[in-house]
């Protein structure tokens, strides 16, 4: 005889990632490491911004560099003699808490004050995956088009710090950086929005101040 049964599962895949993310944050807190998830499209300037912050911030910095297949970004950070773990996602378009958990095992956390977790270049998929960072910083460059913010609402809704980058070339690429900033503020009134250029160093001190303020609670 066969019978038919209904089985309740109620297993949320996102919740599973969130639990791991919380565990990551506990590990970071135990070693007093403040972590920033750095999000943004390919070419937005995430790696260059982190490089600039490594050079300018008077803190012990570590980096997890997420990339699909290469170690290019990880190699760029290594030249600054900071602890770096390169993470290759293979076919995946985002980092997740599980990958970050393993990367944390390979970092000397007791020697790090501030950890940048550079996500894979993508404005869509990383949104769904908390990593355990304390804040999310999204970098968007004017060369992506000044409608990029309004076209990707969730990532801006979810970020604590929005960096509108490469404003020195806004005119050349016919982009209105003020529109991008106001779109970000409209989507997320709590976010801090900074217009920057890594070439002229516009906004860099402000970014540093904001990160340090978050670190000091």
């Amino acid at each position: 005889m066969h019978k038919i049964a209904e089985v309740e599962i109620q297993h949320d895949i996102m919740v599973a990632n969130k639990k791991l993310a919380k565990r990551n944050q506990k590990i970071l807190d135990k070693s007093n490491v403040f972590a920033v998830d750095v999000l943004g499209a390919i070419g937005s300037g995430k790696t260059s911004l982190i490089e600039t912050l490594i050079k300018k911030m008077n803190l012990k910095i570590g980096v997890i560099a997420g990339d699909v297949i290469s170690k290019f970004d990880a190699n760029r950070f290594e030249q600054y003699k900071v602890p770096v773990v390169g993470l290759n996602t293979g076919k995946e378009c985002h980092l997740d808490a599980h990958l970050v958990e393993h990367a944390l095992e390979d970092l000397p956390l007791e020697k790090i004050d501030l950890l940048f977790i550079e996500n894979v270049g993508n404005l869509i998929c990383p949104v769904d995956f908390d990593l355990g960072s304390h804040i999310r910083m999204v970098v968007v460059s004017v060369s992506e088009g000044d409608d990029t913010v309004e076209k990707h609402p969730l990532i801006f809704k979810d970020s604590d710090l929005v960096v509108i980058n490469k404003v020195d070339i806004a005119e050349a690429v016919d982009a209105d950086e003020e529109k991008m900033a106001s779109d970000a503020r409209m989507l997320n009134p709590d976010a801090i929005v900074i217009k920057s250029s890594l070439k002229t160093e516009k906004g860099v001190d402000e970014i540093i101040n904001v990160i340090e303020n978050f670190m000091n609670g």
């Binding site: 066969h2 019978k3 089985v7 949320d12 996102m14 076919k91 769904d128 809704k157 409209m186 709590d190």
Partner: protein
Amino acid sequence: MHELSMADAMVKTILDAAEKNQAEKILEATIEIGKLTMLNPDQLKFLLEVLTEDTLLEDSEIHIEEIPVEIECKSCDYKGLTNVDDSDHYLIIVKCPQCGERDLKVTSGRECNVKNIKIEKSD
């Protein structure tokens, strides 16, 4: 495109539950997807079909249910469903339907839940 990894995790979750419950056949499975997740239901469905080949789920009916977006407004304390307007893709996350203010928190609509399965098993 993370539909593949999500579909893979869903299939594993369902097959695990089926095995634990000594299922001989899985008749139906229900998955709930929040409207705000970055998952495309059609792609997800296609990948589920591919991934379930030669498994207990091969001939099962997989239902994908959408979970609506709910918000909490920090200005007027409204809690509940928000406006859904497919012509304005971000209205739902930026405006309270009660007071029109923008300072709100999304409380529901980002789920990716394997809800239940209907199985056939021996007595």
